[in-house]
Structure formats: C-alpha cells, structure tokens
Amino acid sequence: MSEARPNGSKGQIMAALRRSLKREQPAPEERRLLEERLAQPRAGLIPARGQRDHAAQLDLLEEMLTELSATVARLDDAAEVPQAVADYLKSENLPPRLRLAPREDLRVLPWDSQPLLEVTEGSAQETDPTAVTGAFAGIAETGTLVMASGAEAPITLNFLPENHIVVLRASDVVGAYEEAWTRLRARFGNGTMPRAVNMITGPSRTGDIEQTILLGAHGPRRLHVLLIEDAEQPAAAD
C-alpha cells in the first residue's frame, strides 16, 4: 500500500530500516510501550534552575532576558501598556507607529490615551518599524518567550519588524520548557500543535563575521518585554 505512494521511496527505505533493525515490526508488547511513550509524554531531567517559586521565576526570566540584550519593564496593570509602549518608542528614538497583534486583550487596552501613537492591526508589513504582540508563555530557565500562532498571533509580527514589544502576563510565566508543553496540550489538545510555535530567546543575532556577536541580523534588533504582574490573579484562558 505504502509502496504505491507517488511521493517517493517509502517502501524501499522502510524495508532497509527493517533489515538494519532486524525486525518486521515491533513486537506487540514493544509497540504498546512505544504507543504509551508517545501518548503520555514524560518530562525528562528538568534543571533545578527551572523549578524555583514563581517570584524567583519572574526574576530569573528578567535576568536572562537582560543578559541577552533584551529589555524588560514590569507593569502592575495591563492598562499601563499603551503608555509604556509610547515611552519605550520615544526613549529609543523610534517612530510612534506600531502593528498590533489582533488579540482581544491587547485590542481593549486604552490606546486612545496615546494620541500620537499610530496603531494598526494585522500581520506584519515590510514597512512596519515595530510590532506589539502577546505571548503564549514565558519560560524562566532561559528567558524564553513562547509564541503560538493563530488568528490572534500572526507570526510575521515576531520576525519582520525591527523592533518587537511583547506583552507577557506573569501568570503565563513558567519555570521550564516542559510546563509550556503541558499548557500547549491543555489548550490545543494532545498530539496537536498550532501551525507555528516560536520560542524566542533574545533579539536576532549573528556571529558569522569573525565570530563577533551582533544583534539584528534579520529578525528584530530590539526585543522589549512588558511584564504584567498579574500573578495573584488566576491564569487567564491561556
């Protein structure tokens, strides 16, 4: 059956693999164990660094991001985001123009309070200087932001503009990668992924010229995280 596929040499390759493995199929008991391993993923060794309490996770996230030349501003309330965005753009001498991820919790923020800011929604266009997006999660162990693509999260926003501002809720910050996978499965279902999941750990960088590390190779030159300290609130839908 599979040999009849128009798309290539599957039959030949599988036969070669089975010859090398000296088996036709895994034995029934082996197969059961393999199925189980796939269906019930178990976390491996999680570094102690990823298992601190939540307040320490926030500190670690900030520390790691700062080390990577990203910047972090902590806000008590999401309502402060428009002001913080305007302040950041001004301090970096950037145009007051941004492309906003079409995400309900970002859309409802008081953008009107910043009349000089030009806010448009949608996926990124070539001329957009700055994107403002949410994040699915933040991972403390390496200062990593997790973006899950979807209607509210076009992925071009993460890469095309030179500046990327990420609104991250403290309740979405976890210690280790594995916790993010658990949350992903809870949201999207077991064995199912959004089309793209982007783990972002600092601004774009390259070492390709004489091993000198430089920022902004192709992706964003600046990565600014607005960390909303909503920790005492129950975690939102995400």
Partner: protein, 477 residues
C-alpha cells in the same frame, strides 16, 4: 551529491597551512567557541546528566526508527502537510524541484541546511533556472564567493571581515563606494538590507530541520538570525529537508536535547529562535505558508543503522567536535574535502561517500579524544575513526609503506626475545652516534619526523639490558 576533494586531503591541508588569511580566520574558532561552551556548561550543574539523557533518547529512537518515522509521517499528513521519502540525493533534489515547478517558483530562499549541501541542491535548482538565495549571513557570503561551508554551524568561519567587505563591494551593485564597511556591524546591516526584499519576493522557502517530532508531526529549526523564520513564514510554500535520524518521539525529548544543543554549539543557553512548524497555514491564520512539504532523506543512513557506525546517527550537528579539534584548528573545514568536516565528518563522510574516497579523514586524527569529551550526544568519535581504519586495513586500502612498516614492526613486537636482542644492539649504536649532540636532525626512515623536529639520541643500553644487569648484582640492588 556534492563532489569531494577528500582524496587530496594532504594537499588541501598543506595549502591551508600556508594560507595566512585562512590561518588568521581560524583563530576565531578557538576564540569564539571554546570558552563560551565551557562557561555555559559550568553554569548548568545538570549538563553532564543531560548529555546522558540526550544520548539515551536518541538510542531509543534509533532502535525504533521504523515506528517513529511512520508515526511522524501520519501526523504530518494529518496536519495537512506532505512527506516525500527520498532514498538518494537525486530523489531528494528532484522532489524539491518538482514542488518548486508546481508552485511556479522563480525565487527560492533558503535557511542554512547541511542536508541541502549534502545533496547539492543549489546547483540543481539553479540549473533549472531558479534564483536561489541563501539567507543565513554566513551562507549568503559563501554563496557570493561560490564556496561551500567550512563549518557546519559557522559556514564562513574561514573568512575575515576584510574578505567579506571585498565580496560585498564586488557583488552589491548599488553599494556607494564611500559607504564604510569596516566594522562587522556595518557588514551585517548591509546584508540585512540586501536580503530583506528577497524574503518578500520568494515563492518557496527551504529550511533544514534540527528535529522532527513524531508525537505531533512537527519540524523544529534552531537559528539565531531569524532568517530561517522569514524564509518559512513569508513564501507560499515551505519545504523542510531532513535526514531520517532527525526524528525524536515527544516534545519533551526534543527539549532535553535542546538543552545541550546550543550550549555545546555556541555556548548560548538557547539559540535566539527555536521554531516548531506543523503543517501549512490554518484557515484562521493571517500568515504562514499555504503548502508544507517534508523531504525525508535516507542517503545511506538506513545502512548505518544497526551497524558499528550507528552511534554517529545520534549527531545533532552542534559543531562542538570541530570547535575543539586541533586538526580542524590547523587546517579548517575545506581541507576535509566534502560537506562535513572535523571529527564528525571524519566518521560520517566515509559512510556517505565511501571509505575509498574519504580514507584520509579517519586517519587524520591523533585520537586526542577532545571531540568525544565535548560531544553532547557522547558519540565515541575516535573509536569510530578507528573502525574505519580497520576497514581500510582489511581491504588493503592503507598505504603500502604503512602496511609494510607495520608488518615489519609487528613481527618483532610479537617476538620479545628477538626484539630485545635486535633493538638492544641498535639503540647502543644510535646512542653512541648521537651522544655528542644529544639528538639527530636527520635520520634515515624518519624524514616525516626530522623534517620538522629533532630526534633525541637514545641513552644507550635499553632498560631491559640495564635491568638485567641490575638483577645480576649490578648498580643499586
């Protein structure tokens, strides 16, 4: 596949050693990688245990590669993607060209992929009239120069910034002559600007894969520049090329290996971008490719499975082995003559293009073991290079002079009484001849040694002779 110049390794090495610009650039390998890896390792107390865990995950996966690949394919199909199984480089090239043609493609952007080098993809697409654009900065530079990568994660590590400046001035027509390109920052900005609109005009984006996840049908790429992401999220077709052994069972397994990958490669805690792609754009998505294809390449891997080179299939292409290899430091990557240089290349290349062609590579090692000591997947690289030497010896591929010398030596080494009598005499003669100088600056049959260094004169009698004298009541007993 890409043509090899591996049989000319010695000549390649000699030329590399005489190339002062190359030697200057190679200094950056030591400076750029070794200290950073050591620091990252020291910062993560669990690092050594994670290496064990990563090795075990790959071993488990390889032992069940048939199962996991079939499951992976099912999940890709379920997410709306397509899988193309390619037994050979040629099948892979043709599958990719067909996809490009079906998409009516003119411009193809590419993220860095060693598999694409292995199958000689660019030349094939260019011959068919496609405009192929490498987007990784290092790959872009060497594409301008019509060179191949000299390192698996830092393809242009053999170049200095002055050479890059000259290339940009030569190839970038609109670059004003008075624009300064002295600083690396200026070179990066120039490349960024040049490549920006290429991403947007591309019809097809091609990337490699660091991992394939059987649980979800996901391909993962790890990059720092963001070029891989722009390559795969802007064009309407995304093609992933991956060899069979890239599959792992779960996201958790990929995660464990990710924890050792960047730390071993560049000394980063994690690369800037780790991107998980699953199928084409969904109905609700505002962006992303309309088609998602995976080329699954065998090209010799299925033959390595179950044999003495299976451990090599654990390799995650971090480059730590070459970053720490004194031979690589001396000659650079191009001397090895094919796609994969350094210790991992010395093991993998004979598997892929044949030991007749690549016979030098597993021999050009002192077995210093530094590669194995830093390999995140604990691949016993020296042991496998020795396996290749055994195959060469069995097949009489080793040079005649070596075989003859070895046979001569082994004859005596296997006969202790004869050995001691003969060499005892010879050392006394050599000792007497060399006593005045203490050393020889030329010796018959030892030209390889004395061309570059002196040979010490033996002290005279052998230890065994002196020991026998002492046992008979001589000095000291």
């Amino acid at each position: 596949m890409l043509q090899s110049s591996s049989p000319a390794f010695k000549e390649n090495a000699r030329a590399a050693l005489a190339d002062q610009t190359l030697q200057k650039a190679l200094g950056n390998v030591k400076a750029g990688f070794i200290g950073k890896r050591a620091k990252a390792r020291a910062r993560l107390p669990e690092f050594e245990d994670l290496r064990d865990a990563a090795r075990d995950i790959k071993n488990h996966t390889l032992a069940n590669l048939d199962f996991y690949l079939e499951r992976y394919e099912e999940k890709v199909l379920a997410s709306g993607g397509q899988v193309h199984w390619a037994a050979t480089a040629e099948e892979a090239r043709n599958a990719i060209l067909t996809i490009c043609r079906d998409a009516g493609a003119k411009v193809v952007t590419k993220g860095k992929s060693m598999i694409s080098e292995e199958i000689g993809l660019n030349a094939h697409l260019e011959e068919a009239g496609l405009d192929v654009v490498e987007t990784d900065l290092g790959e872009y530079i060497i594409q301008l120069r019509h060179e191949t990568p000299s390192h698996i994660i830092a393809p242009a590590v053999h170049l200095t910034k002055d050479q890059v400046e000259a290339d940009f001035r030569h190839h970038h027509d609109e670059l004003p002559a008075d624009r300064s390109l002295v600083e690396p920052e200026q070179l990066v900005a120039e490349a960024r600007q040049m490549l920006r609109h290429r991403y947007l005009e591309a019809d097809v984006g091609i990337t490699g894969a660091n991992f394939l996840v059987a649980e979800t049908g996901t391909s993962i790429i790890v990059t720092n520049e963001g070029n891989g992401d722009l390559t795969q999220c802007l064009p309407k077709v995304h093609i992933v090329i991956a060899s069979l052994e890239k599959v792992v069972p779960n996201l958790e397994d990929a995660t464990t290996i990710l924890r050792v990958l960047a730390r071993s490669a560049t000394g980063q805690e994690l690369s800037a971008y780790t991107t998980f792609s699953t199928g084409p754009r969904r109905p609700e998505d505002l962006d992303g490719p309309e088609q998602y294809h995976v080329i699954l390449l065998d090209n010799g891997r299925s033959q390595m499975l179950g044999g003495e080179f299976q451990d090599m299939l654990r390799c995650i292409r971090c480059g730590a082995c070459m970053n720490h290899c004194p031979v690589y430091h001396a000659v650079g990557g191009h001397a090895y003559g094919w796609v994969y240089p350094g210790p991992m290349g010395a093991v993998l290349t004979p598997s892929l293009i044949g030991v007749d062609e690549a016979g030098h590579l597993p021999n050009a090692s002192t077995f210093c073991g530094r590669c194995e000591s830093v390999c995140p997947m604990r691949i016993p690289l020296p042991r496998m290079m020795r396996h290749w030497r055994e195959r060469e010896f069995e097949r009489h591929l080793s040079p005649k002079a070596v075989r003859f010398g070895l046979a001569f030596w082994a004859f005596f080494a296997r006969r202790p009484a004869l050995y001691h009598r003969l060499l005892g005499l010879k050392m006394r003669v050599l000792g007497a001849l060399g006593r005045a100088q203490g050393r020889f600056n030329a010796l018959p049959f030892a030209g390889g040694w004395t061309k570059h260094r002196d040979f010490p004169a033996p002290q005279g009698k052998t230890f065994q002779q002196l020991w026998a004298e002492r046992q008979k009541g001589g000095a000291g007993s």
